[in-house]
Symmetry: none
């Protein structure tokens, strides 16, 4: 995190910062890391190429900064959901989390694309660190939901916690992918589904989970 951004950037008026970050996010979300072009970024946001190199050490620095920013937004969103549903039943919280997830990536598709990049594009700088951090956050999030559910007796206590989390995480992730990766989902057609359909599908899926997991 150190060395990725320079004070020159942080001293910039916020509007300018935003313009630059927008251009960078757009480019990184659109192409693979190596294919993303600094040239395109600078001409998209109308600054000189040299300037960008005064704000960030190099391309890698730009990427890391943009990525960290994106992650913290995701984090904030999900944590809010967790807090707002603190008292509710486990399966309800699951549904609401899923819905919030879909909502988020529909509003910020480029951030979600960034995440997909590091999932499967080796050669993203510090991929391992970034990926582990994100994955860990997801696991922790679901883990805390599950533990609370078990404590309240809403979930069977005899199941290995890790396996339950794995299953939930798999479903969660895939559901989001299905709603936004083109040509990916050939069974539920989530990509073109409106909110009502999304809710229905979530209901069905959580229904099955309930049969499998509920105490």
């Amino acid at each position: 995190m150190v060395d990725t951004v320079r004070s020159t950037f942080l001293n910039l008026p916020e509007a300018k910062q935003e313009k630059i970050l927008d251009a960078a996010l757009a480019e990184f979300a659109d192409k693979s890391y190596e294919q993303a072009s600094v040239n395109v970024m600078v001409s998209a946001c109308g600054i000189a190429k040299g300037s960008l190199y005064q704000y960030f050490k190099d391309k890698k620095g730009i990427f890391l900064y943009v990525f960290d920013l994106a992650v913290s937004r995701v984090r904030r969103t999900l944590v809010k959901v967790k807090e707002e549903t603190a008292g509710e039943e486990f399966f309800t919280r699951l549904e609401k989390s899923l819905l919030a997830g879909v909502d988020f990536i529909r509003r910020h598709p480029r951030i979600y694309n960034l995440y997909l990049k590091i999932l499967f594009d080796q050669r993203v700088p510090e991929r391992e660190r970034l990926l582990t951090a994100v994955r860990r956050f997801a696991a922790d999030y679901l883990g805390s939901l599950v533990r609370q559910g078990v404590a309240r007796g809403e979930i069977r206590a005899d199941l290995p916690e890790h396996t339950v989390i794995f299953l939930l995480d798999a479903l969660f992730d895939r559901f989001l992918q299905a709603t936004c990766v083109p040509a990916f989902d050939v069974t539920l057609n989530l990509e073109k589904a409106d909110e009502r359909e999304i809710r229905e599908r979530i209901g069905e899926l959580v229904g099955i989970l309930r049969s499998g997991l509920a105490a």
Copy 2:
């Protein structure tokens, strides 16, 4: 499929074909499509640059040929599993399919990487066509298992078929990813698991599914 490969290539001795396809697969599995380098391929397999262009129309042609080859191998493997377990119970077949999948990608990690590429790398040539084909195959495979399971009374008949397939597919896919994408799985540590552990985890997951789905 037409126009991707030239007869020049097919007339080559098999050993040479293999050497070339190996180099190409390695490169495409390693980098994003655009980043994959024809230069690297030719020096990896020790042929002249011009020669590769006698075998294939262009980079895209190489990719499509390699990809189609890879898909047909996967297909063959899974179809064999289906046939060999034709008489068995649904959840057993599921376990065996998963196991066969893990086994396949452990023996052919680069093929699996190729699949991951087209999942999330826009800019892969004919991505939509390729992806849809693969996804559809997976859905059909699981679909036929499910329908037979329902017919035999092993699975609840009241669940929407598509949703069940979606769930199984999600789990299937994620399980494979967890076993071979580095730094991806932070809950079950499948990447480093030996076969015994894999079997155990599969057992646990299918156990949960059984509770949710069994009639």
Copy 3:
């Protein structure tokens, strides 16, 4: 002329020879000499690349053979016109020659294109020799017409012969170019003219020449 074609070629059945020459002429007429592609020729006429190199020493050999063939066709055509109009008046012969020229290049545009190539494309092999030969033929042709015209008292005898030939040649050549080089002629629009219009324009031009040259 030696060394351009090999006996292997001349022993070929005529139909095959023709097919090959056709493909070569088409390619050389279409592109600059260096840009013309042996690959394109062989795939256009359906023979192996190696075969072409058994018929001709190299690309240059193909070109020279095709060119010589083309020139002899032109020569034959014009000589026939000269013979058939042997007894007629100078300006009539001029008109008929022009008409025959237009007719020839409309029927054999690729041959005319070949000629244009060597006119202005440096880097055509043996360009100087080929061009001089063609130019000399044209000058001789017009020269013999002029001398006969002078002898018969149809043309002023006080004019320098070379200058007269130069003028006629210029007009002749330009007229042909105007009828077949796209976008070249912006005054008479000869490119799109039908035969009647061509005759009219020829009549007008020769009319002016008559005023300037007639005795």
Copy 4:
């Protein structure tokens, strides 16, 4: 004209601009458009390959810029002749124009070669547009001379204007070609003629024209 050159180039010191344009003009005049090599240009003028691509979008851009520059120089030269001879007799102006033309292409042979390129090299970018522009300029130039000559009673009024222009243009063009295209002119040997001889030949030709055209 737009998009061919970049401000980067125009901001360069004039000497450097000239060096680059010189190298480009030399290359384009020497070879066919497709055969002309950007590599050769950059090593001829001692800049990096990447730099040239900062100055121009692509090879086509370089060509168009060089061509437009060349055309405007020709235009300027001829317009000056027209103005300087405004009051003089038609046939005198014709002679002076021809002389100025010969003088120009002897001082700028590469510019004239560029013109010849687009005349007969299909495959030059925007050939039609460029060629039409040049041809139209020539026709307009001669047309204005002719119309003034007719108005002053120096030229027969009964001749179709277009045909007269066509004839003059043909002669004009061919005369210039004869003086600078190697091996082209086999009758007057203009290529090796000194200025005195050129003047004589021009005199003779215009003499004939006078007989044909003068009122």
